[in-house]
Amino acid sequence: MIKKRILVVDDEAGFTKLLKFNLERTGNYEVREENVATRAAQAARIFLPDLILLDIVMPGRDGGDVVAELRRHSQTTHIPVIMLTALVARNEISRHSVAESGELLMLGKPVDMATLIHCIEEQLYLHGKGTAQASGDSAETAGGEPTS
């Protein structure tokens, strides 16, 4: 089975490292970290991931701008993105440009692996990239439908 390539963009290096450990241990993913927001879009063009996990509040450039840049380039425009944020209230998020970037799936930090993997698999499946096996596994472990 071909591993799915996931790019994790977050300025918190410790978080991306541990996330990478957790995802790669499943054997289903190959993870690359990017801790500098301004380099995120370029990293995506080079790595060409199947999915991007993207923080919103980052120094230099926020997640919404990164999404906009991804959408501008043909190689990265169709890559599914899951926003990971430590913001909580809905109106907090709407202050950021991500609100305008459409139906992005957002997950609040801290997030447990079961939920995260479920969402990753769901997005991959919706974009025709998921494996039936992986999707079924995660649905079991996640223990509930995420609201989207």
């Binding site: 918190e12 410790g14 978080f15 541990l18 996330l19 450990f21 957790n22 241990r25 509040v57 990971l84 944020t85 430590a86 913001l87 909580v88 209230a89 809905r90 109106n91 907090e92 998020i93 957002m106 997950l107 609040g108 930090k109 801290p110 997030v111 447990d112 692996m113 939920t115 995260l116 969402c119 509930g144 995420p146 609201t147 989207s148």
Partner: protein, 559 residues
């Protein structure tokens, strides 16, 4: 002379006839019983024509009605009277006589009328008469009311201005009492003031009012003075009244203005308080959001680490599993506190629906069923069907109810504990002075019809000192880790966002009642044409991991 005359041989009669002062005696009907020569000369009639004739045949016809009234009164009251009579002379001229009328007691009452002074109408006048005239002019032209009232309260004299005010001629007023001219309460007041002046035997000032001929209320500053005869007996009251209506109106206007200023000032103060409060909340909100972000990132990292360790083999360490469970719980708790803080400070929009209150309340009860039965606590439901529907954000309202129910459950003893949950229609009681946040227009006012939801427990109750502070953020009586102290402050905030009110009543040792008051929805809205929206309104923009319905009851802090 067929009229019954006085005995002719009395010495005083000779004096009377010889006297130089024009004098006559009249009976009650106004007939001249006797008159002296001086009087006949004064009238320019032979004495024989004067005696036996009615006085009225020698006086101005227009004065006759007034005169009759006066004579009646004099006869009834007795005493001396100084007044004027306008006579018609035999030579066709008119003359005004200043007369003193004395009622003489005897076999029958008679009236002795002496003419002390005379002046021709239109003729030359004596200096005294002229000065009298000048005085009269002042009295008539001054922008004041002048009047004299006798002991029985009858007007003896009023000036033109007073007569104008009454819409009458002075002669129509003189001889009447205030009772004939004013409403009873005013007349009583005027005569009461007269009596006061006579009792005090000194000038007094009064503020009086009356309606003028146009029906407008006028206010008077009235100075009343007792009047005395030569012997010093009080014979009546004289008064001067100046119009202070404009002054009063200005005063009234000033009072109104003052009231307005006061209330504007109060409003300003309360707005200022609200602004300060809002500013505080805003900065708490900003702080909370910042803290949330900064705390949640490390929490996310810790959780990632825990996730990693949880995949390690079971036999790594005997306590390994337990440690992970505790750490995971700690992460959740920290997250919850951050959440509570943000919930409290973020003034989120409400998703208002018109819903059946009883249904919402009833559907919240199962959330505490498990804990309640475990503790052996009885639940009494007492729902009034007439409360109908109210406008509220179901999720937030459920959050409030749940918080209150959990608090109540914590407060009661095992086995003997009892909760009573009720709804009813009521009326907004006196306004709560400690109001914050809610805008004035949305605020419930005293007397507004409200829907009340009450949660009553028979638990340990809250001490008065604690009761004052239970709605303050971070105020908790629970041990560290058991409650955030945000629960009730969030409850209050949510209810205030609904334009409602939450009130706590408690008696230590007896129990606590929390009452929520919400604006009642009018009958039209209750008619049923409003389709209830689906209950689950969560758009799901943000998914908080683990924040599922079954987690909700522990998601709320306590008091």
């Amino acid at each position: 002379m067929d009229a019954p005359s006085l005995p002719a041989n009395l010495p005083w009669k000779r004096l009377f006839h010889a006297g130089a002062t024009p004098t006559y005696v009249a009976d009650r009907s106004g007939r001249i019983v006797d008159a002296n020569r001086a009087f006949a000369d004064f009238l320019r009639y032979p004495l024989g024509e004067v005696t036996g004739a009615p006085v009225m045949s020698f006086t101005a016809p227009e004065d006759q009605a007034c005169q009759e009234r006066d004579f009646e009164r004099y006869f009834d009251l007795g005493g001396h009277y100084l007044h004027e009579i306008r006579f018609l002379r035999g030579d066709g001229r008119r003359v005004t006589g200043q007369v003193v009328t004395t009622v003489v007691e005897g076999e029958r009452r008679l009236m002795l009328v002496e003419i002390c002074e005379e002046r021709a109408v239109g003729g030359t006048r004596s200096p005294l008469v002229q000065s009298h005239d000048l005085l009269r002019q002042i009295i008539d032209k001054a922008p004041m009311l002048f009047f004299l009232r006798d002991l029985s309260g009858r007007y003896v004299m009023i000036n033109n201005r007073y007569a104008e005010l009454l819409g009458k001629a002075p002669s129509d007023v003189e001889g009447r009492t205030p009772h004939e001219l004013f409403p009873p309460d005013l007349a009583e007041t005027y005569l009461g003031h007269d009596a006061e002046v006579m009792r005090a035997d000194t000038s007094l000032r009064f503020e009086e009012n009356s309606r003028d001929q146009h029906g407008k209320m006028r206010y008077w500053l009235s100075v009343k003075t007792p009047l005395h005869d030569k012997e010093g007996n009080i014979i009546g009251v004289g008064g001067m009244a100046s119009d202070i209506t404009e002054l009063k109106d200005a005063q009234e206007e000033m009072n109104n203005l003052n009231h307005y200023l006061e209330s504007a000032n109060r409003e300003l103060r309360s707005m200022q308080d609200q602004l300060i409060q809002a500013e505080k909340m805003e900065s708490v909100g900003r702080l909370a959001a910042g803290v949330a972000h900064e705390v949640k990132n490390p929490l996310a990292l810790i959780l990632m680490g825990l996730e990693y360790f949880s995949q390690l083999p079971e036999d790594t360490d005997p306590n390994f599993r337990e440690i992970l469970v505790e750490m995971r719980k700690a992460v959740r708790r920290a997250e919850k506190i951050v959440h509570g803080l943000v919930d409290f400070s973020a003034s989120r929009q409400l998703e208002i629906q018109t819903v059946d209150v009883n249904r919402v309340v009833r559907e919240t009860l199962p959330f505490i069923k498990h804990d309640r039965l475990r503790k052996g606590v009885e639940l009494v439901e007492d729902f009034a069907p007439e409360v109908g529907r109210v406008r509220l954000d179901v999720q937030k309202f459920e959050q409030v109810l749940l918080n209150l129910l959990i608090n109540a459950l914590h407060a009661v003893e095992e086995k003997t504990g009892r909760l009573r949950v009720w709804t009813r229609v009521g009326v907004m009681p006196e306004g709560d002075p400690i109001e914050t946040g809610s805008r004035a227009a949305e605020r419930l006012r005293k007397g507004d019809p409200v829907v009340m939801v009450g949660i009553e427990d028979n638990g340990r109750g809250i001490s008065p000192q604690d009761l004052d502070r239970i709605f303050d953020p971070f105020y908790t009586t629970k041990a560290t880790g058991e409650g955030t102290g945000l629960g009730l402050s969030i409850c209050r905030k949510i209810i205030e966002l609904h334009g409602g009110r939450i009130v706590a009543r408690s008696e230590p040792g007896r129990g606590t009642t929390m009452t929520i008051m919400l604006r009642m929805v009018g009958r039209t809205a209750e008619g049923g044409d409003l389709v209830e929206k689906p209950r689950d309104k969560d758009g799901g923009l943000v998914v908080q991991s683990g924040e599922r319905q079954d987690d909700q009851e522990t998601d709320i802090g306590g008091r």
